[in-house]
């Protein structure tokens, strides 16, 4: 049998249910795996081993008492360090929140606790979720388990790497412009960005509030369905939460996609897409056709304006959201007390934020400032409407859209740090779904030069069940999702 850190959530749930393994054993296996590979991968900012074992013991106890337990009970998970965890340090991988201990749990954390999951720790990310490589973490970069000299993607790079490396069975990330799907593609994991409002954002530290959405990383579509079942649903604490019924995601995995209409946007198969990535997408199309899907070409003509609109809207919202870090409320304040309160705030922020966060605050503040609002912010919001209308038209003819998640495979450290815009281009195919508020999923589609390639499925609002059904059917016809990286084992870091 495979080691316990290699199996899926669904497989582990079955073993736990039949009492062939205990939650403590399963958790220990993951903590040992962390000990073994974390020195190479560095996915975690904080490992909460004591707390994890305590939670696992509690699950085993409940099971001995024959308590009613769901499929996630005893499953060890990792949480992106942007999600508030009561009593557990939550840093956003930023100096400015380095010592922040949230007084409450995010709603998703509360829901996972209610499902009796085990929390292994908090994962590394680009500072405040701004970036596509996890190189913007104020602490350290996370490495891609498939090639330690390459980035795992970002901003949820730690959550993606942890699942790919077998350090966690599943994890949560947040996706504002592709921050779940892009690292998912680069690490061979299933990565879902739900419809805006499907999952509560309460306790998710805000980056761009009209775009942010929490989503899972898993090693199978079935596991993603289990995670979604636990985290999706209305939350009165989030005023943008959708009050719509949550479908049975597992029941949607019928394996049957006969007659499914798949659209391939011509704007997503352009010259910038690396040939190896293109080959994977073309193969995926053939696979879906062989399963009975009807594939046709479609057009999203305003795609080319997506990045431009996004890099006004997201920085504008971030400049407002990050105004709260002023040296007054959140643990970190400058030691230089020579000036008045404005100097104190300005110095605290200058010392506490990294280069990319400063860049985006500056860009957003500029776009919202007097005289530029119409040309930038208002224009970007109108372009957003055009992009949304592109999707509305496409979904009149198709059930899902398919293309590459990213134009290229994982890149080497430092390859894109010199030119901010080159880094932004990573998200060219993922950003439009955030702007339109619709669902997107990246699934393992194959490899190019030994590195994972993600197939991007985009669905209409509340199309998660369909995306999961397609991904699950694709997994039954392929074995890409079962491939895992060989990680050179170094001495583990001290915990």
């Amino acid at each position: 049998m495979a080691d316990l850190w290699q199996i899926t959530v669904s497989e582990a749930a079955e073993l736990l249910r039949r009492r062939e393994i205990s939650a403590v054993e399963l958790t220990r296996a993951h903590l040992d795996r962390i000990e073994q590979v974390e020195g190479s991968v560095r996915a975690f900012v904080t490992v909460t081993d004591t707390e994890a074992l305590r939670q696992a013991e509690r699950v085993d106890e409940l099971r001995r008492e024959n308590a009613e337990l769901g499929p996630l009970a005893g499953i060890p998970l990792a949480l992106k360090d942007v999600l508030c965890t009561r009593g557990i340090r939550t840093t956003c991988s930023s100096r400015i929140l380095e010592h922040f201990i949230p007084p409450y749990d995010a709603t998703v954390v509360k829901r996972l606790r209610a499902a009796h999951t085990v929390t292994l720790g908090k994962t590394n990310m680009d500072e405040f979720a701004m970036g596509s490589s996890t190189e913007n973490s104020a602490f350290f970069p996370t490495r891609n388990p498939w090639d330690l000299e390459r980035v795992p993607g970002g901003s949820s790079g730690g959550s993606a790497a942890a699942v790919a490396a077998g350090e966690a069975m599943a994890s949560l990330g947040s996706d504002t412009g592709g921050s779940v799907r892009q690292p998912g593609a680069l690490t061979n994991t299933v990565a879902l960005k739900p419809t805006y409002g499907r999952v509560s954002r309460f306790g998710l530290i805000a980056f761009a509030s009209s775009l942010d959405q929490i989503g899972p990383f898993t090693r199978s579509a079935r596991d993603a369905a289990l995670m979604m079942q636990a985290i999706a649903g209305y939350d009165p604490l989030d005023s943008t939460s959708l009050d719509a019924p949550v479908p049975d995601y597992l029941a949607a995995l019928t394996g049957d996609i006969k007659g499914l209409r798949v659209g391939v946007p011509q704007e997503y198969m352009v010259e910038g897409v690396q040939p190896g990535v293109r080959a994977v997408i073309e193969r995926a199309i053939k696979t879906l056709e062989s399963l009975g899907a009807e594939v046709g070409e479609c057009s999203l003509p305003h795609t080319k304006y997506g990045i431009a609109a996004y890099y006004i809207i997201a920085p504008a919202e971030c400049s407002a959201n990050l105004a709260r870090y002023d040296g007054v409320k959140y643990t970190t304040s400058t030691r230089d007390l020579s000036g008045g309160i404005v100097e104190m705030m300005s110095k605290t922020r200058a010392e506490g934020f990294g280069a990319e966060v400063k860049r985006r605050i500056m860009l957003g503040t500029y776009a919202l400032s007097s005289g530029y609002y119409d040309a930038y912010y208002l224009k970007a919001e109108k372009v957003r409407t055009l992009i949304k209308q592109d999707f509305d038209r496409a979904f009149e003819r198709f059930d899902v859209l398919l293309g590459p998640t990213t134009p290229d495979v994982a890149f080497k450290f430092g390859a894109k740090t010199a030119d901010p815009y080159a880094m932004y281009l990573n998200d060219v195919f993922t950003i439009p779904a955030n702007l339109a508020g619709i669902a997107g999923l990246s699934m393992p589609g194959g490899f190019s030069e030994g590195l994972p390639v993600g197939v991007h499925l985009i669905g209409p609002a509340l199309g998660e069940a369909t995306l999961l059904r397609v991904a699950d059917a694709f997994e039954q016809a392929t074995d890409y999702h079962t491939q895992s990286p060989q990680i050179a084992v170094k001495k583990g870091r001290k915990r």
Partner: protein, 98 residues
């Protein structure tokens, strides 16, 4: 549109960022470069469409007016850099020359 140094200084003040000389010079160039790409937007014909600030058709979401326990003030105040009793301690606001 390119950004001049004066604009960088003004925006840095608005954003409450005490940037170094080097950062200001870098940001002038980087922001100008990014805005050049962003200006591609001006090509898009938006004369016939409304702005989308938000994808959901939500308006004035109201919470039930029911009392419920709030977060313990002690827990909240623990995160403040400087505290005095049940208050956050800050530097004098009115002395400031701004």
């Amino acid at each position: 549109m390119s950004i001049d140094r004066e604009t960088v200084d003004h925006v840095a003040l608005l954003a409450r960022l005490a940037l170094t000389e080097k950062e200001r010079e870098q940001l002038r160039d980087q922001l100008s470069g990014i805005l050049e790409h962003i200006n591609l937007m001006s090509e898009a014909d938006t004369s016939q469409v409304p702005a989308t600030a938000h994808v959901l058709p939500l308006r004035n979401v109201m919470a039930e007016d029911q009392p419920r326990p709030s977060v313990d003030p002690d827990l909240l105040l623990e995160n403040a850099p400087s505290r005095e009793g049940d208050f956050i301690r800050v530097r004098a606001v009115l002395d400031d020359a701004e």
